[in-house]
């Protein structure tokens, strides 16, 4: 009876799967983990930002721009780890650029937002 074949086939399919080599398993699992985080964070971003009032677009753009300077974290680590001369030099540049972005971004946003603040004087 062909219907009886189904479980048998499934059993042998699963049993064979167990024998597959787990090549590159850890690296790829790590990728899936980061991908999970990426997708969840994208979703949070979409949800949080929809329906910002128009007049906040400029400060929001510059504020989020400052946050994208988080790449400073990577820049710092690669610079300070002194792993290679080229890496350190490039890292130094990266750190500088990233810090321009971070500091400039937060300060300019604060400056803009202060103008919305009625109690500024």
């Amino acid at each position: 009876m062909p219907t009886m074949l189904m479980p048998t086939m499934l059993t042998s399919l699963l049993a064979e799967t167990a024998a597959l080599p787990a090549v590159g398993e850890d690296a790829f699992s790590g990728f899936v983990r980061l991908l999970t985080v990426f997708l969840l964070a994208m979703w949070v971003g979409f949800e949080v930002i929809t329906k910002v009032p128009q007049r906040l677009h400029t400060p929001l753009t510059s504020g989020s721009n400052a946050i994208s300077g988080v790449t400073a974290v990577g820049a710092l680590v690669v610079t300070a780890s002194l792993a290679s001369t080229a890496g350190t030099v490039l890292g130094f540049l990266a750190t500088t650029f990233a810090m321009v972005n971070v500091v400039g971004g937060f300060v300019v946003t604060a400056r803009m937002l202060q103008m919305f603040n009625p109690k500024k004087k």
């Binding site: 997708l39 971003g45 007049r55 906040l56 989020s64 130094f92 990266a94 650029f97 919305f116 009625p118």
Partner: protein, 484 residues
């Protein structure tokens, strides 16, 4: 991977602070706090990075050197950033944001390059590290992420620089680049990009491919941005903002760090959303903005439109009209920012109100050069928030308005958007000032606005042109009312 868990906990805390920051920044009352919380999150993330095992290891081996290096870079970068942010005039905010954004993209691309250089160094030599060698395997996460970071980072940098040039109105960028050859150039670049992406993914250790890919990204940043008309620049900036976030997220995959991934994808998502919202406000499709430019529509010549129909008036005449007005609506545009006339306008509205006249401000969503531009300027001049009315809100009231004073606005009050389907701004929602009993337009000449097209409003029967610099015009007008 090899980091103490509490550093990861600090990164997690920073990530959550970033989310809170975004949440708060999207509410008018809480935006300031949101910005501060974002900065706090950044401080935590950066501090935690200093305790990364790679850093502590280098400090243990080399003493204070690594710290001095990053301290120097941070100081230099931080002071440049702070100076720019504090010095740049408020009217130039859009350019400033574009520039900062470019730097963020550049930083991500450089991080990828630096990581690649260090990894290649670690994979070779005597004490060759197996982990570094695994990273350099074909189609590894490291390789793919490095390639993408370099590409997006380069594209962001040069795209932002072009946007900066256009917004700063540097003369090199005055005209959109509409040479039809550009499609062939872009196609060539796209092919090169794909080939190099594959090459970097297959052989990450060949750093030459990586830098070539970055160069292609940079070139694409130029060729894709240059054809886009200046009027569409805010959309482009938002999109580039999104890209800089995605570049940071990709850098997070390079160094396997979730705070970069989270913060980067938040920025990426918010940039995309803002882009969409903005396209909607300008009634354009995103694809149209990215690939259309302003097109080759035949633009009516100003002389034909205006011929013999322009009525111009002086301060005294306008002051007399205003004396009889019960309701006045002020419509600011980019010229207000150029003339820095916000304080003068505020004074004018105070004077009018003191005489019992109702004054409101009509804010078009894309007036100025950046969304919210007018709000920022008028808030700076302490105009009460309730008086700033949004387009959909105030449009029905123009019919009952005695005088609409248009100050340095042009495209956002151009009735051609409503009436002429072949106009480049056709379909863009506009402020219906032409419905007001009298329209006073303050500008220096008959020259067109950002979209480069003539404005039939100036030739309308109920329109009076008041040719002068915005600030001077308003000050004179106020004086005329007070003496009159």
């Amino acid at each position: 991977m090899t980091s103490h868990a509490w550093i990861n906990l600090a990164y997690l805390a920073a990530s959550m602070l970033f989310i809170v920051a975004f949440k708060l920044m999207s509410g008018p009352r809480t935006a300031g706090r949101g910005n501060a919380i974002g900065a706090a999150g950044m401080a935590i993330a950066i501090l935690a990075a200093c305790f990364d095992p790679k850093v502590t290891g280098a400090v243990a081996a080399n003493g204070a050197w690594p710290l001095i290096l990053i301290g120097a870079a941070a100081t230099i970068g931080g002071s440049i950033g702070a100076t720019m942010a504090l010095r740049y005039p408020m009217t130039g905010m859009p350019q400033m944001v574009a520039l900062l954004n470019g730097f963020g993209g550049a930083a991500s691309a450089l991080v990828a390059g630096a990581e690649l250089a260090s990894t290649v160094a670690a994979a070779g030599g005597e004490s060759a590290s197996a982990a570094a060698q695994a990273s350099l395997a074909p189609w590894s996460q490291f390789g793919i992420a490095t390639a993408l970071t370099g590409l997006i980072g380069g594209l962001t940098l040069f795209g932002s620089l072009m946007a900066f040039g256009k917004l700063e109105e540097l003369k090199q960028f005055k005209k959109a680049w509409t040479d039809p050859k550009r499609h062939w150039i872009n196609a060539g670049l796209a092919i090169a990009m794909v080939a190099l992406l594959v090459a970097v993914c297959m052989a990450p250790e060949r750093q030459f491919f990586f830098w070539l890919l970055v160069a292609v990204g940079c070139t694409l940043g130029c060729t894709l941005t240059l054809p886009i008309g200046g009027a569409d620049m805010p959309v482009v900036i938002c999109l580039l903002n999104s890209y800089s976030g995605l570049a940071a997220a990709a850098a997070g995959f390079v160094i396997d760090n979730s705070v970069l991934v989270i913060a980067g994808s938040l920025v990426g998502a918010s940039g995309l959303i803002l882009t969409a919202i903005m396209c909607e406000a300008m009634n354009r499709s995103l694809v149209g903005v990215l690939f259309g430019g302003l097109g080759t529509v035949a633009i009516a010549d100003g002389d034909d439109v205006y011929a013999g129909k322009i009525k111009s008036a002086a301060a005294e005449e306008i002051a007399m009209i205003l004396e009889g007005a019960d309701r006045v609506v002020i419509v600011p545009g980019y010229g207000l920012a150029v003339a820095q006339a916000q304080h003068a306008v505020r004074e004018l509205s105070d004077v009018l109100e003191a005489r019992g006249c109702e004054v409101e401000f009509a804010i078009h969503p894309v007036a100025g050069r950046m969304p919210g531009h007018m709000n920022v300027l008028l808030a700076e001049a302490d105009v009460a928030y309730e008086k700033l009315r949004e387009m959909d809100d105030i449009n029905p009231t123009f019919a009952e308005t005695d005088v609409a004073i248009v100050i340095g606005a042009n495209d956002v009050v151009n009735p051609a958007a409503r009436t002429d389907p072949s106009s480049p701004i056709a379909g863009m929602p506009i402020l219906d000032v032409d419905k007001a009993r009298t329209v006073v337009v303050v500008k220096r000449s008959l020259s067109p606005g950002f979209a480069g097209i003539p404005n039939p409003l100036f030739a309308a029967d109920n329109t009076l042109m008041y040719f002068a610099d915005g600030k001077k015009a308003i000050l004179d007008l106020t004086a005329a009312i007070q003496t009159g």
